[in-house]
């Protein structure tokens, strides 16, 4: 088990370095001078540009910049935005909000996805199964932002059930609708995954043996079918945390949430490269950590992996 985790950790390192390097490369080395972009459509004087370049180390070679940046990450110094605020402060403000949102979304998609998927898988071909499949297709096909708008309009404005936007009022109630919107697509995928898993396991040999032992149906389903079906679902859930946090841009925009997505979006629009790079790096770290967590969970759920 330790060896298994150790190996996973070792594999995560090149991914971390590779991903951060890639992001850095994308932001800085591609055509499109970030300093000029800062000037926006008005343009910026050469002298000022040179000054800024020096201040933000942009005149040094690429690899040096990257290493300086890494050093900064590891010492907690994320640099400052062009307007002087430390990026670390932005991170401290934005990440907890998005994390809360992502966890709520995760909870929603896990609970509803698994329960509905289980029922659909057990009664495959029935009316519940068909309707649930149609709903899941619909949710995947309609873009998140459309669902977001429509829900916001109908539930928030027209019916007034939930707060329309979040802003600085970060509570479970205000985050409820955004969480549902954020988790909607994953909910559909988890539902389908659970359904397929359950339906496959229902006809597995060991399930027949369990029934032959004299176990009642409820026990066979929970202890044998569900338990085994959850393994791929849990894997998906873990990987989804990173995706949720990174993909919340749209949802945060619609509901005016001052989280990672919102801040990041602004930073991109305004060309604040250090902010963009730092935030994205943290997201990558979250993704890698979440994946390691999934590997751990996977080993707990599936004894065969523990000794691999």
């Amino acid at each position: 088990m330790v060896r298994y985790l150790g190996r996973r950790l070792l594999q995560a390192l090149p991914v971390f370095f590779g991903a951060t390097l890639l992001i850095y490369f994308m932001v800085f080395a591609l055509p499109g001078d970030p300093i000029l972009a800062l000037g926006g459509d008005r343009g910026i004087s050469d002298a000022l540009a040179a000054q800024l370049r020096e201040k933000y180390n942009l005149d040094k070679p690429f690899m040096v910049q990257y290493l300086l940046f890494l050093k900064g990450i590891l010492t907690g110094d994320f640099g400052t935005t062009f307007s002087g605020r430390p990026v670390g402060q932005l991170i401290a403000q934005a990440f907890p909000v998005t994390f809360k949102l992502a966890m709520m979304a995760l909870l929603f998609e896990a609970v509803f996805g698994i329960v509905f998927g289980l029922i659909a898988g057990m009664k495959k071909g029935g009316w519940f199964d068909s309707s649930v499949l149609v709903v899941s297709l619909f949710v995947i096909a309609v873009p998140t932002f459309v669902i977001g708008f429509v829900l916001q309009f109908v539930v928030g404005v027209k019916w007034g059930l939930l707060p329309v936007t979040v802003g600085s009022d970060v509570t479970v109630k205000s985050l409820l609708m955004p969480a549902i919107v954020l988790g909607a697509v994953s909910f559909a995928y988890i539902l389908r995954l659970t359904r397929t898993s359950v339906s496959e396991n229902l006809s597995a040999d060991f399930v027949r043996t369990a029934t032959a032992k004299g176990l009642g149906r409820p026990r066979v389903v929970t202890v044998h079918v569900l338990r085994n079906s959850l393994i791929p679902v849990v894997t998906y859930l873990g990987a989804d945390l990173g995706a949720l946090m990174g993909g919340a841009i749209v949802t945060e925009g619609i509901f005016n949430i001052h989280g990672v997505g919102g801040t990041l979006y602004l930073a991109i629009q305004q060309g604040h490269a250090p902010t963009v790079v730092s935030f994205t790096t943290i997201l990558v770290i979250v993704y890698i950590v979440a994946n390691l967590g999934v590997d751990l969970l996977y080993a707990v759920l599936d004894p065969r992996i523990r000794y691999a």
């Binding site: 060991f206 043996t209 032959a212 032992k213 004299g214 338990r227 065969r304």
Partner: protein, 579 residues
């Protein structure tokens, strides 16, 4: 009258021997498939008394498993009992509620399922799965008492170090150990009837014997009636007193086991008796003992001596193969699959490499086919050293040695038509043009007795035996001199197996082929091999002509293997001493 759950009886139950325990009459089972209704069982009859053993024998598709599963209402998919009656202890089971079945399963009727690799839930420990059975069938006692009982049951089933093993998971057990665990589960609640569905067909022969012996003793002690499902006639006759032979869903013959073996009446049973390797090998032995010429012998030399004047084709000297194992315990991190193996094969004869799993026989085969490089040792093919051949020479060598593999469902590319599969060797070696290649494909199909129209078909349309014949045809495509048959008939039904063996034999006579026959089945070896090498743990334990091995086995292991052939102890021929 439906039964309530009864308390587990911890002593063997005493039942009236005059009342049948199980009575199946005119059973009809149907499956609804995409193409219509399939009648899997038609009008099946069988009767079983308390404490008796009965075996249902048949090939795949005979309905034997379906009949057994219908008894406890465990038909897969769309299966349904559509007619007839199943009476257990006088109670009608057809049409009974699921609640009745839950009550009966485990405590009255136990099941030992077929495949030990897939029948245990991989995420729960063995002990958990046994304990579950106890708790579901009326065990009352503390957790500690339950665990103690679990250890007892596992030990009873033949599992050593049971208390510790109970905490382990299925993937940590070997096939034989898993099967013992399944037996423990089946007998845990002391059922009156145990259904054993091919309980040992996936296991090594010696392990099979041990497990079946054990099962026999256990069920005799407990007074449990046993219903065996098997495709092996020899095994059936050895382990059961009653026999039921099924063919395509119908019972074609039934009655006392020995009587049926000695005097089969129905043509199908007669075919089975003629084709079953274990019985055939017994007959050949008996004939030889009496000094008669056995008709069923397929080996070129009759197994009594190899004519060396044909010339040596293959010589293997001190072959060794070591594999590296990842992350093994401290100490050795290599595993010797083949250890100093040497033998020679004479042209035009059949050499059998016999061994159980882990013996290294398949590794030797792969080395012969140049799919693996040996760690040490040399192979001479017609005097030419195979090691260090250049690319071109190696490519040319491939034409002379070809394989036939075990699994008919994996040996043909599902995306290729039969024509393409047979043409590929010719194309790869640039033989002929498209016209001559087509002619050759026709020729090959004729050689394996398949109609030319098969060319256009795809593997998924053919049965296992037919696919294996295509594999034989493919092996012949390049006109090789040696064919390595790696368990080539092990996965086939008995009658089909006999057909393929006859085919291989005829081809050998016609084309002067040399066979290296890898198998775990000594009974098949008796029929077709001229010489035998018995392998164990990578080494050759005994090496002699077939006759010598069967008449005068020198090594203990060889004797064990011979004794383990199902039906070895049967006296099927009336006169003449049993072995």
């Amino acid at each position: 009258m439906s039964r309530e759950m009864v308390d587990v009886q911890l002593e063997p139950s005493v039942l009236d021997p005059n009342v049948p325990l199980l009575k199946v009459r005119d059973l009809d089972v149907q499956f609804a498939t995409g193409t219509g209704v399939v009648r899997a069982v038609r009008g099946a009859n069988l009767t079983l008394y308390p404490g008796q053993s009965l075996a249902i024998v048949g090939e795949s598709g005979s309905g034997k498993s379906t009949t057994a599963h219908a008894i406890i209402n465990l038909l897969p998919g769309t299966g349904k009992v559509t007619g007839g009656s199943i009476e257990f202890e006088g109670n009608e089971l057809v049409g009974a509620s699921e609640k009745t079945f839950v009550g009966i399963r485990g405590s009255q009727i136990g099941l030992v399922p077929q495949d030990p690799m897939t029948n245990l839930n991989p995420v729960w420990s063995i002990g958990y799965q046994v304990r579950e059975t106890l708790l579901a069938n009326g065990f009352t006692g503390s957790r500690r008492e339950a665990n103690a009982r679990v250890a007892e049951l596992l030990a009873e089933a033949g599992l050593p170090d049971a208390a510790r093993r109970a905490k382990q998971f299925p993937h940590e057990f070997s096939g034989g150990m898993r099967q013992r665990a399944l037996i423990a589960i089946g007998l845990a609640a002391r059922p009156k009837l145990l259904i054993a569905d091919e309980p040992t067909s996936a296991l090594d022969v010696t392990v099979q014997r041990t497990i079946l012996d054990h099962l026999e003793t256990l069920t005799a002690e407990l007074g449990t009636a046993v219903l065996f499902i098997t495709h092996d006639l020899g095994l059936a006759a050895e382990r059961a007193s009653q026999l039921v032979v099924m063919y395509r869903g119908q019972v074609v013959e039934s009655g006392p086991a020995l009587k049926i073996l000695q005097d089969p009446q129905h043509p199908y049973t007669q075919r089975l008796v003629a084709a079953a390797p274990s019985l055939a090998s017994r007959r050949i032995q008996s004939a030889k003992e009496r000094g008669q010429r056995p008709e069923e012998l397929k080996a070129v030399t009759g197994g009594d001596g190899v004519d060396r004047s044909r010339g040596e084709l293959l010589r293997v000297e001190h072959l060794t193969k070591e594999f590296e194992i990842r992350g093994a315990a401290k100490g050795s991190n290599t595993f010797k699959a083949v250890d100093d193996v040497s033998f020679t094969v004479t042209r035009g004869t059949t050499m059998a490499l016999v061994g159980e799993s882990g013996s290294g026989k398949s590794t030797v085969a792969n080395i012969m086919l140049n799919l693996l490089q040996p760690t040490e040792g040399t192979i001479y093919f017609e005097g030419q050293n195979l090691h260090g051949l250049g690319r071109k020479a190696e490519f040319a060598f491939r034409r002379r040695v070809q394989p036939i593999f075990q699994n008919p469902y994996g040996s043909l590319d599902p995306m290729y038509s039969i024509f393409r599969t047979l043409e590929e060797p010719l194309r790869v070696h640039h033989i002929g043009n498209s016209k001559t290649r087509e002619a050759r494909v026709r020729e090959l199909l004729e050689m394996v007795a398949m109609p030319a129209s098969t060319m256009r078909r795809f593997p998924n349309e053919l049965s296992g035996g037919q696919r294996q014949r295509v594999a034989v045809a493919r092996a012949l495509a390049l006109s090789p001199e040696v064919i390595v048959c790696d368990e080539a008939v092990s996965a086939l039904d008995v009658l089909v197996q006999a057909q393929i063996l006859t085919l291989l034999n005829d081809l050998q006579a016609e084309l002067g082929l040399t066979y290296l026959f890898i198998t775990h089945d000594l009974a098949v070896v008796r029929q077709i091999a001229d010489e035998v090498c018995v392998m164990q743990a990578g080494r050759i334990v005994e090496s002699a002509t077939t006759d010598e091995v069967f008449d005068n086995p020198r090594q203990e292991y060889t004797r064990e293997l011979l004794a383990a052939i199902p039906g070895a102890s049967l006296d099927v021929f009336g006169s003449g001493p049993a072995a």
